[in-house]
Symmetry: D2
Subunit: 175 residues, 4 copies
């Protein structure tokens, strides 16, 4: 393949003290290692006030990034069995940009269930966006104990899991 494949990673929380940032950075490194171009789109930087009026210049910039992507990854925590509000605000700004793109979701939770309910709820959203939610998700459980003080992941199995997701994203791309 000549053209580089670009898969941005949406970090879907702006909460003070968020733990998902570590997971997003880990997924970012694995995605680069796999050979894809990638970058973290942090909803904290771009998310608009709750009045839905995202700055047009910023909106256009992100729109171009998403249009340009071959697939998308979302890394987000589960809050009360759902997705963070700021992630939904961010996602609802776009529509046709998503069409036909495979979506891999990485759930994050402090408990043992890895954000599994949030993953399901996002999948339903993504179908409305004409995306292809893939089966291979990554569930980051017990996030507070998953990384050491240098932010290295303690459980090496996660590398393989991210790789499995990336592989399925790749094989689900349209072109």
């Amino acid at each position: 393949m000549d053209k580089k494949i670009f898969i941005p990673i949406i970090l879907g929380t702006a909460r003070e003290g968020r733990e998902s940032e570590k997971a997003a950075k880990f997924v970012f490194e694995e995605t680069k290692k796999y050979g894809f171009e990638t970058e973290i789109i942090d909803v904290k930087d771009y998310a608009s006030p709750v009045t839905w009026s995202m700055d047009p210049a910023i909106k256009e910039k992100i729109s171009a990034k998403i249009k340009n992507a071959s697939a998308l990854i979302i890394v987000a925590p589960e809050y009360n069995h759902g997705y963070p509000g700021e992630l939904k605000l961010f996602l609802d700004n776009f529509y046709e940009e998503y069409f036909y793109k495979p979506l891999g979701i990485c759930g994050v939770s402090s408990g043992p269930l890895g954000g599994a309910r949030m993953v399901e709820q996002l999948r339903m959203i993504s179908i409305e966006f004409h995306m292809t939610p893939i089966r291979e998700a990554v569930y980051f459980s017990s996030i507070k104990n998953l990384f050491d003080e240098k932010n290295n992941i303690k459980d090496p199995a996660y590398s393989e899991r991210v790789k499995t997701m990336l592989k399925q994203l790749e094989s689900s791309m349209r072109n």
Copy 2:
């Protein structure tokens, strides 16, 4: 019952040009007519920036309102099969305030399905809040044609539907 029953109505969208406001006002009038005390809590007024830092004074005020309520009603549109982000940001600010309170949900949509998917997603959230999501929901479909230019509802069947919901809220209250 001597003490007045208080059921606030959360208007769950801050979007420019939102249509759900009409539905919320209609539910508000019906709730008063039924004999309950009520008020509209508009997420547009209270919702915080996406950094999750709701002003402490405001937070305390709303917390007291929710604690004081016998039940809650949410009126919200469905955006891309899910709930608005600003509604989720609002809801995630509270937890024990919700415990054991019955919840009635009114979905709003421009299409014919009345926000039914949003209703289901909110129900899952509400269980995590230890609420009792009741069966009787109200589905405001084709919202753009549902009210006349004086904001009166054109389909009189909705009065009965809201009443059915209020009745079940009443019979689901703990005390």
Copy 3:
């Protein structure tokens, strides 16, 4: 395209007096008109007793049909916000047969919401089967009044809706 595209329609209820059969037959005719090969797989004929032991010869036959399909359509009613048990029993008999196939779902309900909740629940199942649940669903509402005594559909808009679904199935096929 030389090779004929084959899209079987799974009729997902075995209930006495089921109304979904009319919807399935309507979708069947539209699918033929569109130019695809199709056939109705009726869970009533094939569904096994609840002990999960589908007859091996029958299982092999259906397995081949699904493997052979370019996409799948499910027509099923919503019972109590979920899918019929006999449909789930049927679906759980297979796994790799489904891989990478687009799935169109047609919900059926006696009420006005067209089985929308059932559609969402099936979509979550289908992702686990590595399928591609497409955005375009068809919602057969008020099913008891939707067909005349000759089983002709009264609302002509449904032809267009099925066509839209078929088009998206076609454009989501892998090869």
Copy 4:
């Protein structure tokens, strides 16, 4: 309380080699220990053929049991992110019997997520049955390694989890 509280446990799978039976028996013992009357209703014994025609005498018997219950527990595995078909067939036989009863759900899975998706899907069904799905669920993960050869549970934390669920069921009962 003079009158004994009766909480039947529905074992929601009839699959050959089902592992959920162990979890159901464990929950049964814990429920007795807690002081409730209980019994296992096994969908394998009662579930009807897929034609929905449950034997009327059997149906009446189970109907009486459910009517008599103060709350219900369902123990069921997750198959492909959903509930077993035979469980849904069983549940759809009843309606008013469920009204206003608290429901505790115990998910079972061979993987690490304890059937969390199945729990969510059942909760949505239970709201349509006018039940009160409680927040406290029990997630039996990695079920194949959870019990020793004498069918004793290896992880003692599960006793506390079941107790927490029973407590919340108790405090959610109407009378």
